[in-house]
Amino acid sequence: MPKKPLFPLLLGAALFFPHALYAALSAADEAIITKCQDNVAPAKGPLSPQVAMECVSQLNANGGALLNALKSGNQEEAVELISYNNALVDLANITTRYSGYTLAQALGRELENKPCALCDMGLGPRPERTFDWISVNASGRLNVVKRSVRTWDTLGPIRTEALAAEPEGYTKDSWNKIKIPKRYQRLSNWARARTDKLVLDNETAMSDLTYILIEDLILPGDDEYRGKLTDLGSARAASEKKSLDRITRAGRTAAGLKDQSTSGQKDYLDTTFDRAATGGGDTGVPGVSERTFTPVPIDNKQARELSTRMGTVTDGKFTGYLADEMKGTKAGDELTAFFTDKNYAAKGTNTLKLKFEKGEGATANALGWWDSSNKTTSVNTSLVDDYCLEHRITPEQMLASEEHLRGVARYITPNFVHETVHQRQDAWALANGLDYIKYRDGSTGQPYQMEMETESFSMQAAFSSEKARQLGPTYLEQISPSHKNNAIRFMEDGVDALRTGKHQLYPSISSLEGSTAREFRMARDSAKYLRLLEEKNRLTPGEMTLRDSDDLLEYRALLDTRFKWYSMVYQKSAADERKLLEWRDSFSDSGGTPPPALGSGG
């Protein structure tokens, strides 16, 4: 049945029966949409996270059939329905999965940045506005959330009296009006000042105040002050504690020493016994070298040489030690194919710009990173320095050795896989027109959300798992402990093991639900304007100005892109997981002694 001639009629009907716009929907689908709309209605909405979760799942079931139907109807309603239900799912996950500073950061991220979908439903911007909702929907977590966001009533008398005496003269009302990060910053500032005073007064006794100060000294730069608190106390007590720690540590480690490699034994002994650290005396352990080693950090020239030798793409061919290491694995071959894909090459999105550089500031402790603005994959040279230290070689010796170049490649490839997946995500977004975020430097991108990390971690873990299957368990000793752990987790419980475990460790990144809530909330005004233009175009086409016509096209495209992004990312995450689980199946074998056959329960 042709749809267009029916539209004016349907529009009229929609004024009285809002869901009449979704004429193609079955009664069951219409009931779902009504339930989802009612759930987030400002006046009567129960704001149930369970209903919201059901809505998100059902909208995206069957390849997003219901989502597409919704999009073809009243987009303004659709945008709100999607935004608000996703926001409720996100709020439920944040308040149930996290606690402490992690929870505070996550809530601050979603409540205190504009636009805030939760705030439209009365759940923000101050976290105190969520407490009633939490008491209904996650009652067991209310105290955890209250303490985590540092609401006044949970601060305790030591803090509240101190804050009241500060120049700002804080009260419950004025304190609860400030943003979450500022609460933490304010408490950190106070704790720093009180720590300095304790040091000045040589206050050595541990008290409730000391424990509170330690609790508040958790921001970057607070380490120094925590150190000051730790240093407080008598020199005698500190000395006794140090001796005790060393004896305990030595006893604990000695038992496992025989299982370590020679270099591992040497590392342990070097750090445990002063004599060995200064290079003198006999360690007493046969086979452990007495030779001292002074680490030499890799310099810029050597780092450039290493970049070139590790990986380049020339004439559509990916070569170098990284390419060799990746070859013959499912994840590695897929990413090699990405580097040689002609369609991506035509857009210049699969160019490999590999750079070994020292991480600084935010990247100081990172293994590597993908920078979407300058299209560069970076590997932290600290990793290379670690490798050289572990093998007691200089960068010069490493660069002269085929064996060590392969060793460096083995050590860093899981991270290179992780970052290359991010490059491919950017290329995929551009190829599909989903890069609608415009940055000041002229670059574009899709919204960055946690499912992108899930894919990167899963691909990296799949790669390491397959290598371990090919090369045996010794491979696991040649990569970093966290890469090894990711591979084991992936083999045990698939993508979910990495999806649920990693988000709390990325406090600045929204989940897909949180990101969807924000993207569709941002599109709400556009949807409203578009609805007016669509009505005008249908009812009084003669009154459409040139600008109206241009805007109609522009805003249709804008809304289309948001729906397309949501739908494609959602479907992609399912397709990625299916593929990765199939790979995982192919990596499993029944090696070792089979467990006893089981009877059935009952």
């Binding site: 998100v56 402490g100 600290s382 992780h418 752990n485 045990e492 460790l505 990625d576 689980l581 467990p595």
Partner: protein
């Protein structure tokens, strides 16, 4: 195994029996949780059910269940108890034997980095025959960093085979906080009732 002889034994001895844990307070505040058509358990008070809405659905994976989250410790490790039914043809673990072989011994062939695995024993989940085992693993925080902190983690699993498919109940916690949360797991275990036979 050394681990089983020391830490696990100590934990077992110190814990209240499962039914006693329920009587000691969990019963009054625990909430009945029903995974429709698959099982019921009494979820501990204050622990919340959570699930992901993206990726493959439960129906796609043919794995149905719930994960209850408890307190998060100072290192950021959240205690969790999961109860899942793995239907025949599921995408995660084809059989109960396969699940046990993947979790009760090193999944990639070596107990790397200090992981420890206890022996597989026979016991009960509710009134149902189960295989159970414990292990010590690790989390690395923060991820993808040069010097992550290595946090020891305690895990316990009960695998309940059925004529069609199987159930798994599991407990995950930082080793430091394991003893505190374990009675909640024992209480869920005692209340477990499969709805499939």
């Amino acid at each position: 195994m050394k681990y089983m002889n020391t830490k696990t034994l100590a934990l077992t001895v110190l814990l209240l029996p499962a039914c006693a844990a329920l009587q000691a307070g969990a019963k009054d505040t625990a909430m009945l949780y029903t995974e429709k058509g698959y099982f019921t358990v009494m979820a501990p008070a204050g622990w919340t059910n959570t699930e992901s809405t993206f990726g493959l659905s439960q129906e796609d994976k043919k794995v149905f269940g719930a994960e209850f989250l408890g307190p998060q410790d100072a290192d950021g490790i959240t205690a969790r108890i999961s109860v899942r039914y793995y239907a025949p043809g599921n995408l995660l673990h084809k059989t109960a034997e396969k699940f046990i072989s993947t979790h009760a011994k090193p999944a990639l062939g070596a107990a790397a980095g200090g992981r420890q695995y206890g022996p597989v024993k026979t016991g009960l989940a509710g009134k149902y025959y189960a295989k159970f085992f414990e292990r010590k693993t690790f989390e690395f925080i923060p991820p993808e960093t040069i010097s992550p902190k290595k946090i020891p983690v305690y895990e316990k699993f009960h695998v309940v085979p059925m004529k069609r498919g199987f159930y798994v109940l599991s407990y995950h916690s930082s080793l430091a906080a394991a003893k505190t949360g374990l009675p909640n797991y024992e209480a869920i275990l005692a209340s477990f009732k499969p709805l499939l036979r």
